[in-house]
Amino acid sequence: MSPWRILGTALVAACMPLPAVSGVLPLSADPLIPAPPSVYRDASLSGGPGKDGIPSIDNPIFTSASAADGQLNPGDRVIGIYRNGEARAYPQAVLVWHEIVNDTVGGDNVAVTYCPLTGTALGFLRGDTELGVSGRLVNSNLIMYDRESDSLWPQVLGAAIDGPLEGRGLAEIRVVWTTWENWRQRYPETRVLSEDTGFLRNYERDPYGSYTPAGGYYAEDASPVFPVLNESDRYPPKREIFGFRTSAGAVAVDREHLADEEMLLHEHGGERFLIVHDPGLDTAWVFRAGDKEPPEYAEITFGAEGPEHPALAALEPVNGFEAMWFAWIAFYPESAVIDGLDQ
């Protein structure tokens, strides 16, 4: 894009009044949108079901961890959230049929979202509105809509590609993609989303395959089925990477590499990032490190809030999430990759 066009766009944006709905739906300041929204809009297509054909759960009911033990196997995947002292787990087996839970956790209205086709779980603040499933996909990824402005939000981008809030980003909150065994051990008092969702589904059947072991659509070598904007054969398409992005760029971390290294310092977009492996949840936590010296990994403990150390307390956390490789690179073709090998 030419500098004049950027300047023109900025002037127009500055002169335009903010949509009234921006007060309802918490927004982020500067989402990373690698291509103009129209590119995603033009590449979006119907996934089969129509709008709300995959119904979000808007009145979630929870059970205790001990009650959930009867339903969940230790290796079953869950999406966990911990906020203001409250821990909740959302079984993948339930979310695969609903994709979005509009919930209130720790006093905050949140939307916990999961896209089975890209293996991505993200949390968003939703203010007084709700998010729903639009029925459309881009890069195989769930496109959500908000019930206030009807803007369209691809989940991985977390930014609107159509509607009154086009170009704006949702405020993200951290959710964790892990196993029931790991989550229960870290958060013994967790509540668990029940199968009493208000809809009748066969929650014993994952229509896409299985994670224990990975099979069907989830198998590492299985091809994505919907067209994507960008491709890379650096990894098998369904390999799970950990990704994070700032307004300056996106970074993919090889999870095995991180587990081996335990902690990584990475410079990207003029910033230093500290990436910490969490062995208990088998995930990663990212911080803006600034010019501060990172702590010794052996001195870091892991609690409800994630990694704990006096040196980490002053660092700003950056949201990240696991994703299938094909989906990450489809959205972020210029993504840096940290795996100990050349780019």
Binding site: L45, S46, G47, G48, P49, G50, G53, I54, G198, F199, L200, R201, N202, E204, R205, P207, Y208, G209, G216, Y217, A222, S223, P224, V225, F226, P227
Partner: protein
């Protein structure tokens, strides 16, 4: 044109209809074999709006869940209605095709008398297009999944037209009112 007894075509039509019903309900996920074995019945929302709420084109919400041992069934009146229409049309087509086939004088083209069977089978699989696409794993094919569901009305139309053509060729009525 009078035809010989159509007892066998009737039995075959019934068998085809029942088989197709099972296949269709399994294909759309309303009947399934599950790992847990239990007996239960669960009622869902039963208002009119929910009854007509589409999950995708020609696939509707269930109002009850029944489980008998390892067999689980989601009861959706609209899905059952669609299944009955398609299975009935398929049964009528099988009946007509076999009845015409039995009559040597009418053996004028098996391709046409059986013409309705293929789209009917397509209809059964169309409702689970995403599953078929995942199974086949053909990149790009899923881009057309939104169109797959429209094979259902297409199939019903072709089956209906084929049945009309069979009747014009002299196939007996499937249901007789005495």
């Amino acid at each position: 044109m009078a035809l010989t007894s159509d007892a066998l075509p009737r039995r075959m039509a019934l068998l085809a209809g029942i088989t197709y019903t099972c296949f269709y309900l399994f294909a759309i996920g309303d009947v399934d074999l599950v790992a847990s074995s239990q007996w239960r019945a669960q009622l869902g929302q039963f208002d009119f709006g929910h009854l007509l709420r589409a999950r995708s084109p020609f696939l509707f919400e269930a109002v009850a869940l029944l489980q008998a041992g390892n067999v689980l069934m989601l009861v959706s009146p609209m899905n059952l209605l669609i299944t009955a229409i398609l299975a009935g049309l398929l049964g009528a087509n099988v009946h007509g095709a076999l009845a015409l086939h039995q009559n040597a004088a009418c053996r004028t083209g098996n391709g046409r008398v059986f013409g309705g069977a293929l789209p009917a089978l397509l209809a059964g699989s169309a409702c689970c297009a995403p599953g078929i696409v995942l199974l086949l794993g053909i990149p790009g094919l899923a881009a057309f999944s939104g169109f797959f569901a429209y094979l259902i009305p297409l199939s019903a139309t072709i089956l209906g037209l084929n049945r009309w053509w069979q009747r014009r060729q002299g196939a007996p009525a499937l249901i007789r009112f005495r």
